[in-house]
């Protein structure tokens, strides 16, 4: 060996494989403003479409007059439900088995609902057209409160299905009822509650919020009449699913539909669903023969395309007086708005909410979810969480704190007492899941040690005494949250979207010079797939990550996949990459054996090539193997070096984490300060620690926003409030706390590289940590549960309700 021969460490480092803090390759273009987003797509002669929207939450449409609009020079068409009926597209199927109006058909069911689609030569003219469309409404009483939706005198919202006794998920109890979903053993749970020493019961609401990605939903549709082909550029988190859905509802041959998701500016679940804008732009391009662009503005995005949460969870826990939990009973009233357009795997009307037993060993549990219609926008997407998992985590993590308070126990101690133990994995939960792996107590204890939890509690006790003595008007809260996520949807045995199994895919094609391209069924919206996917390949086949190009989003070139949401990319597509890479490696081994003149079994893998066991100088590197594979393969072996893998995961993955939040609240103004936020995440094998940290920072920031202010609120008339960034809390760098991140590593036993997914964990675990901190701050004053969001005003209201604010404070 001479001095020029790289060491093992140098060879390893050159790969920038798994575990490397590799810089994000996509940022080269993003930081220079050279990304290519949907709104950058400008086709020759392209038209622009925009919506006439309803000012009413509930009204009958008496007439729509488009005459004046059509007289405006540049306005080429105005689509209404009547136009769409001619192509049988006035309604469209939803992912949840319901149907949804594309354009208002006879009535409107929520404020800002799409009523007509104006197509014009430019965006300004389209808006002029909107203002010229005359719609006559007959207002109807709005139904805003989901708790009143099934009253006998409740206004029937969905006249189209009012006589339908059965919905997509079984019998309906009321015309405004969508489904009832029950899981678990009722008798066993009832028995546990009968025997319990201690029980708690609380209505825990998770308010309506919105994913609010920086880039709104948008598309450009272009129909080629000669070829009969439809090309759709769109902000799609799942481009292949969109292609199949378009083929099914528009009755176009699937091979003639080209769906392209270019760079996407954040999705967070908002870009999973199919929206009226897509359908209208597609119809408009077919009608006009010209390309049509539709771009949502911010207010349209916040008020129409897919809210999240809106779950009202009546939570009961049974326990022994020593603090061992024995039963969990949850009833959820789920407000789905005007149509059931939840984006869940089709068989799961409440997503994976049955992960609600959390990280705890509940011997019995029973869950019922009732979905209802109200005069609000449809949606119910997984806003940076796996389907309804953040609602479940919030429910159980608040519940455990409430139980701790009742028992007079420390909330961390209560959790430690009830964790599923490492030896219980794979663990079968009372509500039907098989948890793959976990070491909860280790993570919790590490979090407590790092934050000096015991000292924080002592400080809090001293501050509480000082508050009682009137020496301070500030209270201190410590929020503990220990979450278990369920991600990686999912195994075909229980997960599909409209019948499409939820596998994912990867195709790797190596080039003769030792570089390659990997094409994926997933679709990054900012997650950094171009960086991390190449790292998996680098480690698996010994080609530097820099020499692997990753491509996603074009349905013509990418293998079929179900897209990116619900933290599924690493658990499913990440596995497909590893499996495809291993196929490459297997063929490479055959080539190496032939060239090195040994049997395959006499070779061992060594970082970036094969070595003959016991003969270290006999080595063939992957770069050389790529050349040989094309140009002089062994006799009888096909030339080329490429592989495809479709991965149907055997199980979900179950990331977990321990979060601790320390907050100070000034009772006189309600102003809070997050003094410290510590997040320990266990996402199994870590592919790129820097990207994980970025994911955790982003998810925590969204969790902070949700818990502390974000809300899509409706007044009694069904007017949507919070429809702009003035009122919808999107924290800036100034408001955002400092994040401390940490980790443990418990690999998934069934995943090829042991990775579990992390993108959504911080949102799932973060929201209860913040909310528990606020509730913990007020708990010594008698509060049991204060509803989110915990903005300044609500904190002050909580203080006032507890008698801490004197009405005549300023009277001398």
């Amino acid at each position: 060996m001479n001095d020029m021969t790289p060491t093992r460490e140098e060879r390893e480092a050159r790969l920038e494989g798994m575990g490397c803090k590799r810089k994000r390759v996509e940022d080269v273009r993003f930081t220079q403003g050279k990304g290519n987003y949907v709104d950058d797509v400008k086709l020759p002669g392209m038209l622009h479409g925009d919506f006439v929207r309803s000012p009413h939450a509930h009204a009958r449409i008496k007439s729509i007059n488009t005459e004046k609009a059509l007289k405006i020079p540049g306005v080429l068409a105005v689509l209404t439900a009547e136009t769409l009926k001619t192509v049988n597209l006035a309604w469209m199927p939803t992912l949840a088995g319901d149907v949804q109006m594309v354009l208002a058909d006879g009535k409107v069911l929520f404020q800002n609902q799409e009523v007509a689609f104006v197509v014009a030569t430019d965006r300004y003219t389209a808006d002029d057209g909107i203002n010229a469309v005359e719609v006559e409404y007959e207002p109807l009483p709005p139904l805003v409160d989901p708790f009143k939706s099934m009253n006998s005198d409740a206004q029937i919202l969905r006249e189209d299905i009012k006589d339908k006794k059965d919905g997509a998920h079984g019998p309906r109890k009321h015309p405004n009822h969508i489904f009832e979903w029950t899981v678990g053993d009722k008798d066993l749970t009832d028995a546990a509650f009968k025997k319990a020493d201690v029980t708690i019961k609380e209505l825990i609401s998770y308010h309506r919020v919105h994913p609010s990605p920086l880039e709104t939903c948008q598309c450009v549709c272009s129909f080629d009449k000669v070829k009969g082909e439809l090309t759709i550029y769109g902000t799609f988190q799942a481009p292949h699913v969109i292609r199949t859905v378009v083929a099914l509802i528009a009755k176009l041959p699937e091979q003639k539909i080209h769906v392209i998701s270019p760079d996407i500016g954040g999705g967070f679940g908002n870009k999973v669903g199919a929206y009226p804008g897509y359908i209208c732009a597609a119809v408009a391009t077919i009608v006009t023969g010209k390309s049509v662009k539709w771009v949502e503005d911010r207010m349209e995005n916040l008020t129409t395309t897919s809210f999240a949460r809106d779950y009202h969870m009546t939570t009961e826990i049974a326990a022994t007086k020593e603090g061992k939990v024995t039963g969990l009973r949850v009833h959820v009233l789920a407000d789905h708005g005007a149509f059931d357009a939840c984006a869940d795997p089709s068989k799961w009307p409440a997503g994976f909410f049955n992960i609600v037993t959390g990280s705890y060993d509940f011997p019995a549990a029973h869950l019922t979810v009732d979905g209802v219609y109200t005069n609000k926008a449809p949606g119910g997407v997984a806003y940076r969480c796996s389907f309804r998992v953040t609602e479940a985590a919030y429910c159980i993590e608040r519940g455990m704190d409430i139980l701790a308070q009742k028992l007079g126990m420390d909330p961390a101690e209560l959790r430690l007492k009830n964790f599923i133990k490492p030896e219980q994995f794979p663990y079968h939960s009372a509500l039907g899941w098989e948890y793959d792996s976990g070491d909860y107590a280790t993570a919790m204890k590490k979090a407590m040690e790092t934050t000096q939890y015991a000292a924080l509690r002592r400080e809090q006790a001293a501050k509480r005494e000082a508050f009682k003595r009137g020496e301070t008007r500030e209270i201190m809260g410590i929020g503990v949250s220990f979450f278990t996520e369920i991600v990686g949807a999912g195994p075909s045995k229980n997960c599909d979207i409209l019948g499409i199994a939820m596998f994912d895919s990867c195709e790797i094609r190596m080039h003769p010079t030792g570089t390659g391209i990997a094409r994926m069924g997933s679709k990054s919206q900012g997650q950094g797939h171009e960086t991390t996917w190449a790292q998996i390949i680098a480690t698996e086949i010994g080609i530097p990550a820099d020499n692997i190009m990753v491509e996603e989003g074009n349905t013509d070139t990418a293998p079929y996949g179900l897209g990116t949401y619900g933290s599924r990319s690493t658990p499913v597509a990440g596995a497909a990459i590893a499996m495809a890479a291993r196929k490459i490696k297997a063929k490479a081994q055959m080539i190496a054996a032939y060239k090195l003149e040994v049997h395959e079994d006499d070779l061992e893998w060594d970082i970036d090539g094969f070595r003959v066991k016991g003969l270290p100088e006999k080595f063939l590197g992957m770069k050389d193997i790529c050349w040989i594979a094309y140009n002089s393969p062994p006799p009888g072996l096909e030339p080329g070096l490429e592989a495809v893998s479709y991965y149907d995961p055997p199980n979900m993955t179950y990331p977990f984490g321990a979060y601790i939040c320390v907050m100070d609240i000034e009772v006189d103004t309600g102003v809070y300060k997050v003094r410290r936020f510590y997040a320990l995440d266990d996402c199994g094998t870590r592919i790129n620690p820097m990207i994980i940290e970025g994911q955790v920072h982003g998810g925590l920031t969204e969790a902070f926003a949700i818990a502390m202010g974000q809300e899509i609120h409706y007044d009694n008339e069904g007017n949507v409030l919070g429809g702009s960034f003035m009122d919808f809390f999107l924290p800036t760098a100034v408001e955002t706390p400092h994040w401390e991140t940490d980790f443990t590593v418990t690999p998934s036993p069934h995943h090829p590289i042991g990775a579990k997914g992390v993108g959504e964990s911080p949102n799932v675990g973060g929201v209860p940590a913040f909310s528990n901190a606020v509730n913990d701050a007020f708990s010594f004053l008698g509060a049991t549960h204060i509803q989110m969001p915990h903005d300044f005003w609500r904190n002050w209201k909580a203080a006032k309700q507890l008698g801490l604010i004197k009405d005549a404070a300023f009277a001398a």
């Binding site: 002029d128 006189d668 009122d727 300044f792 005003w793 209201k797």
Partner: protein, 287 residues
């Protein structure tokens, strides 16, 4: 979020701008920083047919001393105010308040004239100008009028500006060298209007308040001057009882709207707290 059609003008002199405003009549609006008007136009809540952009008029920009007054051109941006040593030295409360307006991007465009002339109760400068005893220069075809800030505001978005008039400058009397000042603003986040805010300018003498004026932002249809609250602390050492009297007197004139920032009850309560804090903070700064 797309505005309707309008004609755009960019005059080079004040006289030209005033001529245009007179000629174009009610359907014309002057355009300063645009941070209120342009969003209203995008929502088509404002639909002016003519926009007279004042950015081309050099004489409307700048900060100068005129005897015991500082005169600020209407098109001077909040960024210009923050960059001015003169302002930092002579009118530090204006520096402090400018920093609390929105964010740097907005402050590069947002002007002091637009901020005070629009009559938006959420804007920070009107209460401050009332507190400082500023006078607005209003120029129209009839000539120049000088209107005290305290008499300018008539209701939300209603001011003493006559049709065709443009606010050209703001004259602020230089506060005493030993004055104390504070602008206390409670807001939900960077970029938001005040949930409640209070401006205080005072002087101290022998440990007691000698002079004091207090202004309130976003706690009524217009900015308010809290005279009774100021009187309540003059001659006191800002003991607890005096502070509470001042807060109570300030609260008595507040009538905030309820919105996402809070109920009227909450906003009045924290309005009182902002008054107390601004008084304490100002007193601590007085020499």
């Amino acid at each position: 979020m797309i505005p309707g059609q309008f004609q755009y003008y960019r005059p080079a002199t004040t006289a030209e701008a005033i001529g245009l405003m007179a000629k174009l009549g009610d359907d014309a609006r002057p355009l300063a920083g645009g941070h209120s008007l342009i969003p209203m136009m995008k929502l088509r809540l404002a639909t002016p047919e003519h926009l007279v952009d004042l950015h081309g008029i050099a004489s409307l920009k700048g900060i100068r001393r005129e005897g015991d007054r500082i005169v600020i051109g209407a098109m001077t941006t909040q960024h210009d105010l923050l960059a001015s040593d003169e302002i930092a030295k002579m009118l530090p409360i204006l520096h402090e308040t400018s920093l609390l307006i929105a964010d740097p991007q907005v402050r590069y465009m947002g002007t002091i004239g637009g901020n005070v002339a629009n009559g938006d109760p959420g804007n920070d400068m009107p209460a401050l100008m009332m507190t400082l005893g500023a006078t607005y220069h209003l120029e129209g075809q009839g000539g120049v009028r000088q209107v005290p800030a305290a008499e300018f505001y008539q209701g939300a978005y209603f001011t003493a500006l006559e049709p065709g008039e443009i606010l050209t400058a703001i004259a602020v009397p230089t506060p005493a060298a030993n004055h104390g000042y504070a602008y206390e603003k409670l807001k939900r986040k960077i970029g938001d209007y005040a949930t409640a805010a209070a401006a205080v300018v005072l002087t101290m003498s022998g440990g007691k308040v000698a002079t004091c004026s207090i202004g309130l932002t976003n706690l009524s249809e217009t900015a308010l001057l809290a005279d009774e609250a100021a009187k309540a602390v003059i001659g006191t050492s800002l003991d607890d009882a005096s502070l509470k009297r001042a807060a109570a007197a300030a609260e008595a004139i507040m009538s905030p709207a309820g919105d996402g920032r809070g109920s009227p009850e909450y906003r009045k309560y924290v309005g009182g707290i902002m008054v107390i804090r601004a008084l304490q903070h100002a007193a601590a700064r007085a020499k």
